[in-house]
Amino acid sequence: MAKSGNWIGAKVLGTLAIETQGLVKRFGRQVAVNRLDLKVPQQSVFGFLGPNGAGKSTTMRMLLGLTTPDEGRISIFGRDLKSNRIATLSEIGATIEAPALYDHASGWLNVDLTRRLRGLKRAETDRVLEVVGLTPVGAKRVSGYSMGMRQRLALARALLGEPKLLILDEPTNGLDPEGIEDMRALLSDLPHQTGVTVFVSSHLLSEVEHVATSVGLIYEGRLILQGEVRSLLSAQTRIVFQVNNPEQAKHIVLARGVADVIANADTIDMLVEQDRSGIAAINRALVEGGLEVSAVSVQLNTLEKLYRDTLSSCSQWAPL
């Protein structure tokens, strides 16, 4: 009760969980992160997507104060990271790249060492192990853990102390399909349960598309696209009408102000705002214009398509 009151109360309108301005990180001559302006809303599950080497881990390292940015600012829950590092980190749980675990120690000890450094009660260790389902193997040495168990252990460690922000770098790497499903379920439940914001990276869209409420797409260090999944997807959609006279149909549709129409052998297709009444109106206009409409197909925008389209347009433009 007090807990949920806490996070709702603390949610200041307009305050982002993560905000970066002009973030730059160079390694020698290579620009690993290039003028990044991230905006991660509170209580979102933000999927930070990009191919390998795009700069995801480097960005996350900067968000955790592990790496100093060459340029730019980072603010987390409205506070400047640089001047509030410790206070900010106390609200964050994180896993970066491969789970960094002490192989010679037990799973339980691995979590408990972090629990001690965070100054939390001993019961927290048992709680988070329970959450990720590792209680039965807690006493075993980590050297004998599978990759999936290691990922879960790292997640357990990140959950210590119920952080307000989880930063998870490719948490599904090395998991089997079942493990990926478990991780998904856990991630999508967390924001409702505890009000946490999840910033999760992946190079595979499929791993976050069903849980992410917002996405950011990074390519060669640049943020190509970001926003709420809902608004990114609802922007435009492609519709195909099967008609007996495509050329005539094209004129009718063009006359209605739709710009992007292509006439094919027995179909026309076009890009329109994704809204039902608009599609119905076009259909009516075609019928009233004396055409036979034999089929309509609406190709819904998917994150998958957006990701692919954006990436392919980027690589065409990528300077060499």
């Binding site: 955790l64 104060g65 980190l89 790249e97 450094l117 965070r118």
Partner: protein, 242 residues
């Protein structure tokens, strides 16, 4: 700070570091026993501990153990990329590094006490097996003084090796420097004993070879005290790469 020390010590549970900590004092036991058993004549305590056990301790065993221990301690973090995790926690980097270096320095104390006791025990056991006892006056006071001075003189090696081991991911580098440092110290001992005051890995040796053991103890301690904050500062300001 205490909490962090306990955490760091708990982390060693099940690692090789504990073994290292026990192994070299135990070697003193073996050396002392052999020293009594193998000699043509029965050595005095002064010969056994002063001229045989403590030079080996000062020149080889203690510096090498510190080298390996520092590498092991650092490798626990480097090997698993754990610094990335540790430094994403709301704790100060300087506290983490101070604790690590302090543990390496503190291991001198543990090993010296163990070594002291085990060397004496070795001498006694050797005598028991041979049916004699090393001769001469009680070794307790001079031997404890020598072990203390060696320990203090080695404090700088501990800080240096911990610094190197934490600073560079490759354990080959810090171990290589430790070995080379010790070899050079050995060469110095045989050729230019007066140079020992300028070579950190030879400070402990100075305790047993020079006429002024307390000078080397003080030198090691002073250098350690000066180097400690420098090491912590240097380690803390760097980016955490892995």
């Amino acid at each position: 700070m205490i909490g962090m020390l306990i955490t760091e010590l708990l982390k060693l549970k099940g690692s090789l570091a504990i073994l290292m900590l026990l192994a070299s004092p135990f070697l003193l036991f073996v050396l002392a026993a052999l020293g009594v058993l193998a000699g043509d004549t029965i050595p005095t305590w002064g010969d056994l501990l002063g001229s045989f056990v403590s030079p080996l301790w000062a020149l080889m065993l203690l510096p090498m153990t510190l080298t390996v221990l520092a590498a092991l301690l650092a490798q626990i973090e480097h090997g698993s990329g754990a610094f990335t995790h540790v430094f994403a926690l709301p704790i100060h980097r300087w506290a983490v590094f101070s604790t690590k270096i302090a543990i390496v320095v503190g291991s001198i104390l543990v090993m010296s006490i163990l070594g002291f006791g085990l060397a004496l025990a070795g001498g006694l056991v050797g005598g028991l097996l041979r049916g004699v006892e090393p001769l001469g006056k009680s070794p307790l006071e001079p031997f404890s003084a020598v072990m203390t001075n060696i320990g203090l003189a080695a404090a700088f090696i501990a800080v240096l090796q911990a610094w190197l081991a934490l600073r560079f991911r490759s354990f080959a580098l810090s171990i290589g420097i430790g070995v080379a440092g010790t070899l050079v110290a050995l060469a110095m001992a045989m050729t230019r004993p007066s140079f020992t005051a300028f070579w950190p890995w030879a400070f402990p040796l100075g305790v047993v070879t020079s006429a002024r053991p307390d000078y080397f103890a003080l030198l090691g301690l002073a250098c350690a005290v000066a180097a400690f904050p420098l090491a912590v500062y240097d380690l803390s300001r760097r980016d955490v790469v892995a």
